[in-house]
């Protein structure tokens, strides 16, 4: 694994993580895309040092391991489907209430909205 590749993976992971931590779904989608690319590069580098083309280079000694390339191909397709689905969720969220902010859990909001929650907690019935 070359240092450049390692550095690139590190950058993709860190930027992706930063974006995923946002509240806006659009930024999360961008983050997922970057993280996905980071992971794909990681898989590619896991196949040890790059060598000749796996199939054409028959007979050569320095062959690239073809397995990670097959894995990356699958991972890319899955990543595409996930991003497409997330985009449609973001669009739907926008048509419903005009934004794509990821909201809080119902319980969290209920507790946050109720200043007297300590007195009657668990007494809903």
């Amino acid at each position: 694994m070359s240092l450049v590749q390692a550095g690139l993976i590190a950058v993709l992971f860190s930027v992706g993580t930063f974006l995923v931590l946002h509240r806006s779904l659009t930024r999360i989608i961008l983050g997922v895309g970057l993280l996905g690319n980071g992971v794909n590069l990681l898989i590619l580098t896991s196949g040890s040092v790059p060598g000749d083309v796996p199939i054409l280079g028959e007979g050569g000694t320095e062959l690239t391991d073809p397995v990670p390339q097959a894995l990356v191909l699958t991972a890319i397709v899955i990543g595409l489907a996930i991003v497409a689905f997330l985009l449609s969720v973001a669009y739907r969220s926008w048509t419903i209430d005009g934004n794509d902010v990821v909201e809080d859990d119902i319980s969290d909001r209920r507790i946050a909205a109720d200043p007297g929650v300590d007195e009657d907690f668990g007494e809903e019935t």
Binding site: L42, I43, P68, A81, F85, G122, E124, T125
Partner: protein, 490 residues
């Protein structure tokens, strides 16, 4: 049976394609879905018998060598999970057809449901780590669609959390896959135990934690459970029933495989603490809720803790207890959600403060709720007692008294929260505005609920044979490298 394992994934996927073709014809879609799920259910029972009497079955795609081809492996554990999973999938499908809710009549319900069947079956049968990841993606993708099918405000809100967290989980999982491949040079589940045992301890620990985080989020263990109680109640009852019964258990299945076979005893203390926290937080969350679905959703988390505790304790006896616990838990949890679906269909709500006196109006419905509820709490005549007894016995044998104390306390608290549903919804006087004795649910819904509750009673009645099967299963899972490294649990 050799060569046929791919059918458990291929048949539902072909059904998915057919359902897309018949998108305008709900009746035809239902016929395809019922035929396919019934077919794979029958086939998986045959597979279970075959695996138990003859031995594990392996299928490699395309004639490639085992190490690099797509491999499906059915050992006792996989075959058992396949049977339980497919029976539940079939039952819930019939229930959903009976209910005929808005989302079930959507042209995209049947295809997504069949894709879910394919993903769950594939995850149980996967013979290599990447294949497991792909099957996880299939089932997650199908679950995203089912969860947000109506596309209303509530579903999009909770669906967003669910989707984003599971997407991040997938990325962690695939990172784990890449690092496992980088360090061991293989992804085959048959070869990994030996290769992983040869790694330095620190590397193995890192890999095990990475996989544990990925599968732990799927299984909803303590710090990673918060998506579950929020997203499951937003789905329609049949969908949340099948999610509650099966999806988290796929995560437990993956943890069981990886932690017992690949990293024996690596994370014992961590897993025990996580298990205790999962049990306690889950049940306390359940007690605080005021909606049947939300109470039941928190219970999923709590019950996962018992399974993780068994996995943490390790050894053949503990794994046998976990296998039995999972087999008991899936129909129990599913049936509770199915009962909730009937209540919602009749009353239009699952909020406890708007329900009362259901037992007076339908004694049978009350029985249908009470049997799995008491079983979940672990009272003696029911299947939950046997499962909890197994885990508690192993805990005492290994001197981990504190996890036993936590498990028993949580069991009492489970009973408390079940009684909360009982007193809130079933007990008391029927409100006067309702006509007594008129229940509006479809007979198919009641029939399926009866069937699943009967299954939970069956698990209790045949606890002996099932437990001895679980012990044989656990014996298969005895960690391979344990003999060389001397890490076998007592």
């Amino acid at each position: 049976m050799t060569g046929g394992l791919a059918l458990f994934v291929a048949a539902p996927l072909a059904g998915t394609a057919l359902c897309y073709v018949f998108a305008r014809n709900t009746a035809l879609q239902r016929a395809v879905a019922v035929t396919v799920t019934l077919g794979v259910t029958v086939a998986s029972v045959a597979l279970l018998v075959h695996v138990d009497t003859v031995g594990p079955v392996t299928t490699s795609m395309g004639g490639w060598p085992d190490a690099i081809s797509i491999t499906f492996v059915a050992d006792r554990l996989a075959a058992l999970m396949l049977v339980v999973g497919n029976v539940m999938m079939f039952a819930v499908l019939v229930y959903a057809i009976g209910q005929g809710a808005r989302d079930e009549r959507s042209p995209w319900y049947a295809p997504a449901y069949l894709a879910l069947v394919a993903g769950v079956s594939g995850a149980f049968l996967a013979g290599d780590l990447f294949n497991l990841f792909v099957c996880f993606e299939i089932l997650l993708m199908a679950s995203y669609v089912l969860l947000t099918l109506e596309g209303n405000d509530d579903q999009i809100r909770s669906g967003t959390t669910y989707v984003v967290l599971n997407v991040v989980e997938s990325l962690v999982l695939v990172t784990g896959v890449a690092l496992v491949f980088a360090t061991t040079g293989t992804l085959s589940m048959a070869e990994l135990p030996d290769r992983l045992a040869a790694l330095p301890d620190g590397v193995a620990l890192g890999l095990s934690l990475l996989l544990l985080i990925a599968f732990g989020l799927k299984a909803a263990v303590f710090p990673l459970f918060s998506w579950l109680p929020d997203s499951y109640p937003a789905a329609p009852s049949p969908v949340s029933a099948v999610f509650a019964g099966l999806l988290t258990k796929v995560g437990v299945y993956a943890i069981l495989r990886t932690q017992t076979q690949w990293f024996p005893d690596t994370n014992r203390t961590l897993l025990l603490v996580v298990a205790a926290a999962t049990m306690v937080v889950g049940v306390l969350g359940a007690i605080a809720q005021a909606d049947i679905k939300r109470i039941l959703s928190f219970h999923i988390v709590s019950q996962i803790g018992y399974m993780i505790a068994g996995i943490a304790l390790g050894g053949v006896a503990a794994v046998a207890a976990v296998v039995f616990y999972v087999v008991h838990h899936i129909p129990v949890k599913t049936s509770l959600f199915l009962v909730d679906g009937v209540v919602e269909q009749d009353e239009g709500t699952s909020q406890l403060d708007r329900l009362s006196g259901l037992a007076r109006r339908s004694g049978l419905l009350a029985v249908l709720f009470l049997v799995p509820a008491l079983s979940l709490a672990g009272l003696p005549p029911f299947s939950g007692f046997v499962g909890k007894l197994g885990i508690v016995t192993v805990g005492l044998d290994q001197g981990e008294w504190w996890i036993v104390a936590v498990a028993l306390t949580v069991s009492i608290l489970t009973l408390v929260s079940m009684m909360k549903i009982w007193t809130g919804a079933f007990w008391g006087a029927a409100p006067e505005r309702q006509r007594v004795g008129v229940l509006r649910h479809h007979p198919l819904m009641a029939a399926v609920t009866w069937f699943v509750v009967a299954l939970t009673i069956g698990v209790a009645l045949f606890a002996g044979p099932i437990y001895s099967f679980a012990e044989r299963t656990a014996d298969d899972l005895r960690p391979g490298p344990a003999a060389t490294t001397g890490t076998g649990a007592p």
